[in-house]
């Protein structure tokens, strides 16, 4: 059943945070202000690579309204940060490695005064050769950006003997794919308010995906115990992975500590572009071979990622890509090598999809090319090579068993769009099949013209398959947990260390509690995003939060119910076995459901008359595969995407006019949130495919704002989009709902590439698609030229 409001019935609910969002009452952390607050700004490097010879701040310190000017000399603790490796300086002192590197920070009474102070700081630089590509960074005589060289991380995975296997292949396809520097473009740029406290040293109100990680990182920088810092981190105006790492927090924190006054920082869009993380640009070369029957035999992959100047999660992203370049298919011989390279380009890091987007674009491109060489239907070709349920994962690791792979395969096969494609092919047999040996261009008049009056518009339908891991993977601490408690005022509080950045986590949790305990919305209070009140539930990342909340609620259900019912039983002098929880309080079970039910004890009365705290807590870890392969995943979500595109061969523009997404992720926890994740993810993928690229030359951004960085607008989204969730899990599956936060952002790019191939006979291997590659000389000019000849 398609996912929409009508089919969801009562489970389609108004979000608890909805009202404040539609009325403008919601206070984002960058909306906060306090009397006496100062404005903070950061001085950043104008050069992608330079030595610092001197920094002079005296003039700036003397300016009116300026309360602090800080440099590396003013960092009491560790002058570095990074979730995985702390190699990014808070303030640079000997060298800058990209145009976002910070050298100083100021706090002043007004923005203008802060700007003047920034301008008055003098820094002497000596420019150094700019390593603006991995190739340059890997040259023998290249400057070394870090003591351990210019390679952040290498990974590899090998089985069998690919070279020998290639000799036995009937068909081999080799292609190099490249992907753009995609920007998260959360609408709320980085920022926050930093408030020195009396009860504690520092209160930080700044978006992040993991408050406890920020607290840990700031405690190192400030050299204070973690308990001295409180991090309030929700609500968030979008993140998509981009706000997981620290951004303005070190500067806000240091300035507030130094001045003893509240300091606000809110990045301009340009500041956000130049400093913020992007999706790793990757170049992926694949050589893939099959036998004459279409069975994959050999798959060789080389991945090079441009990770920019510092580590953040570059190694982890690379590991993820390394795992996902083989995907859901079986091959006896695999040879993957990957490398993440430091450069003087912008920072790359965590971004929804986490390296899977690039890997799967390339992998699915190979599948389409090979199917075509074989003269096979691309979807049948995939089926022939799909792993069986119960097979190990891409790294040969045990994975949780589901039928997801076959389920989404079948669901796409039966979809309206795929049937449309098959019908079109029947009318024009062979249209999707170009003779082998001519892989780059097919006959261009194969494409099906959308409208006979506009023969330059060509339509095509394509599909792609996605198997995407969730959780952090083997070898990375992946804690989870939460707490349920009956508060003094009778509300049932659910307390989790997760963050709300728009995905609808609060709404999902509310619905879970309503359905698990039969509560009314008014019975519930949800507390998240504040290190003072929540347990550390791990990061809200890697599509893990909903799964972990579900598991937590499952774990706490019996202990919490038992605690409440036993306390109620004592008060009511009844056997707790005769009682149950419901809307507003405790009911008698013997009364049965419906009319006869009687509210025996409101939660408020229960809370008022018990001294002991009624609560349940759980702590556990995200399930991991029992192997020692770092980054290997255990839980996977499966999806398939079909799209119909219209290519204007005069302009080369591609329009996606129809989409079908099918996702096997177990039960739908929150229909509105699920639909929104898939629709929103696919919009992000559309930008990745067609328009988005933060362009850099020589280590400098040419893209500065949203006039040149083109995210999809509503104009690109008037087409149809169907989302079909597949909810069945194998009987007894203990893991429940799988992550869906990222998978929607993955499959669209290769599906569009396949559809473009069908429409105009061209293979796309570089994103975003360059319209110039798809332009054809109009028919009438060809004629005119012929006459003149």
């Amino acid at each position: 059943m398609l996912l929409n409001r009508k089919n969801s019935g009562e489970r389609w609910r108004i979000r608890p945070d909805g009202r404040d969002k539609v009325t403008g009452a919601m206070k984002y952390l960058t909306d906060m202000a306090l009397p006496g607050m100062l404005t903070g700004l950061v001085l950043r490097s104008p050069y992608p690579h330079a030595a610092i010879l001197g920094i002079r701040v005296d003039q700036a310190r003397k300016l009116p309204g300026v309360h602090a000017v800080l440099t590396h000399l003013d960092v009491p603790g560790l002058n570095a940060y990074g979730i995985a490796i702390q190699d990014q300086p808070v303030f640079c002192y000997d060298r800058v490695r990209y145009v976002g590197d910070a050298v100083a920070a100021v706090a002043a009474e007004t923005l203008e005064q802060a700007e003047r102070a920034l301008a008055a700081i003098e820094v002497d630089y000596e420019q150094l050769p700019v390593l603006d590509s991995p190739e340059k960074a890997l040259e023998n005589d290249a400057d070394q950006l870090h003591p351990h060289g210019n390679v952040l991380h290498r990974n590899a995975y090998k089985t069998g003997d690919v070279e020998r296997a290639f000799e036995n292949c009937a068909h081999i396809v080799e292609e190099t794919y490249s992907t753009p520097r995609q920007m998260h473009t959360y609408m709320e740029t980085e920022g926050g308010l930093f408030v020195p406290g009396t009860d504690r040293l520092l209160n930080v109100y700044a978006p992040t995906q993991h408050g406890f990680m920020d607290r840990l990182q700031l405690s190192r920088i400030l050299a204070v115990p973690q308990g001295d810092i409180r991090i309030v981190s929700s609500p968030i105006g979008g993140s998509f992975g981009g706000k997981d790492e620290l951004n303005v927090q070190p500067y806000g924190a240091l300035l507030a500590m130094k001045t003893g006054r509240p300091v606000r920082i809110h990045n301009s869009r340009w500041e956000s572009v130049r400093v913020g993380l992007k999706r790793h640009p990757m170049v992926i070369t694949m050589r893939t071979g099959a036998d004459a029957d279409g069975r994959l035999i050999a798959h060789q992959v080389r991945v090079t990622a441009d990770t920019g100047p510092y580590a953040t999660l570059g190694a982890e992203v690379l590991n993820f890509a390394t795992e996902h370049v083989t995907g859901p298919y079986q091959y006896a011989n695999v040879d993957v090598e990957s490398m993440s390279v430091f450069t003087n380009n912008g920072m790359s890091g965590e971004f929804r999809g986490f390296g899977g987007n690039q890997a799967i674009f390339a992998l699915e491109g190979q599948m389409d090319r090979l199917a075509e060489c074989l003269g096979m239907d691309p979807w049948e070709f995939r089926k022939l090579n799909l792993r069986e349920a119960g097979d190990p994962g891409p790294f040969g690791q045990p994975i949780a068993r589901t039928d997801g792979a076959r389920q989404v395969w079948k669901s796409l096969q039966e979809s309206r769009l795929w049937k449309e494609r098959e019908a079109a092919l029947e009318r024009r047999p062979g249209a999707a099949c170009v003779p082998a040996g001519n892989p780059s261009t097919g006959p261009s008049d194969d494409g099906h013209s959308a409208d006979s009056k506009s023969p330059w518009l060509k339509e095509g339908i394509g599909a792609a398959y996605v198997m995407h891991g969730a959780g952090l993977g083997v070898g990375i601490p992946d804690p989870a947990g939460g707490r349920l408690q009956l508060a003094r005022d009778g509300r049932i509080e659910a307390v989790f260390g997760y963050e709300e950045f728009g995905q609808g986590l609060i709404a999902t949790l509310e619905l879970m509690l309503i359905e698990t305990f039969g509560l009314a919305p008014e019975d519930i209070r949800i507390r998240i995003g504040d290190t003072d009140v929540v347990p550390d539930s791990g990061s809200s990342t890697a599509s893990r939060a909903t799964s972990m909340m579900w598991k937590s609620v499952q774990n706490m259900r019996m202990p919490f119910m038992t605690a409440l019912l036993e306390a109620a039983g004592r008060l009511l002098h009844r056997n707790p076995g005769q009682l149950h929880m419901g809307r507003g309080g405790i009911y008698g079970r013997a009364d049965g459901e419906g009319e006869g039910r009687k509210l025996l004890l409101p939660y408020q009365a229960l809370a008022a008359s018990t001294d002991e705290p009624l609560m349940a807590e759980t702590r556990f870890s995200y399930p991991a595969s029992p192997v020692d392969r770092v980054g290997a995943h255990f839980l996977y979500t499966y999806a398939a995407v079909a799209v119909k595109v219209e290519v204007n061969t005069l302009t080369g523009r591609v329009r996606v006019v129809d989409q079908f997404h099918t996702v096997a992720a177990g039960p739908v926890m929150n229909p509105q949130g699920y639909l929104g994740q898939i629709e929103g993810g696919s919009s992000m993928a559309l930008g990745f495919t067609l328009t988005e690229d933060a362009v850099m030359t020589g280590g400098c951004y040419l893209t500065r704002n949203l006039d040149t960085y083109l995210v999809p607008t509503i104009a690109e989204h008037m087409g149809r989009i169907d989302v079909l969730p597949i909810e069945e899990l194998p009987p007894g599956d203990p893991h429940g709902p799988r992550g869906i936060g990222e998978i929607g952002s993955v499959g669209l790019a290769p599906a569009v590439a396949a559809a473009v191939r069908q429409a105009v006979g061209r293979w796309v291997c570089k994103l975003p698609i360059d319209p110039a590659e798809l332009q054809e000389r109009p028919h009438f000019t060809q004629k005119a030229v012929a006459v003149h000849e």
Partner: protein, 173 residues
């Protein structure tokens, strides 16, 4: 304008405008952006700051009923005029919501919500002028409002729902 003359000009007497029905006098330079005035002088943070170059629509407000980007509008352009922000579009009685707001709630036309105030302003302006817009009219009215979260599906459904709700409420009236 000649810069010296600007420098010699006596301190601005204050610009008078009407914000959500209230007369306010703002004593800041008339060349300040309306977005800054709303957020930092009047502490009304419903209009959001995002691109500040008129590309994203997060800062949208109504100026005499027409949608404008508050990040591109100067204070002096607002003198004597009526500014309506997201905080002011709901009917005054407590708990009231504009049909557009109601529709966004019902359809889930938002996620992080950061684009939502601007989006709702643009939709309201659209439906005030064209109660039953075509796809082309929706596209034209909203293509200056970027939403990074929803993929616009929920927004398009909200616009259609708002159009319905408005019809229902006007036929009730």
């Amino acid at each position: 304008m000649n810069e010296n003359r600007a420098a010699e000009r006596p301190a601005a007497p204050g610009t008078e405008l009407y914000v959500n029905g209230n007369r306010v006098t703002v004593c800041t330079e008339p060349s300040k952006r309306l977005l800054h005035v709303l957020r930092d002088e009047l502490q009304m943070t419903g209009a959001k700051r995002s691109c500040e170059i008129g590309r994203c629509g997060a800062c949208m407000v109504l100026l005499d009923g027409r949608p404008v980007n508050a990040c591109l509008t100067m204070l002096y352009q607002c003198g004597g005029r009526t500014v309506t922000t997201i905080e002011g579009i709901a009917p005054q009685e407590s708990g009231g919501l504009d049909p557009v707001q109601q529709a966004f709630l019902e359809e889930g036309g938002y996620q992080c919500g950061y684009c939502t105030p601007g989006m709702i302003i643009s939709v309201k302006a659209l439906l005030d002028f064209i109660p039953d817009p075509t796809d082309e009219e929706i596209t034209e009215a909203l293509s200056g409002n970027i939403c990074r979260c929803t993929g616009y599906g929920g927004i398009i459904r909200s616009v259609r729902r708002a159009s319905e709700l408005k019809k229902i409420s006007s036929s009730d009236a």
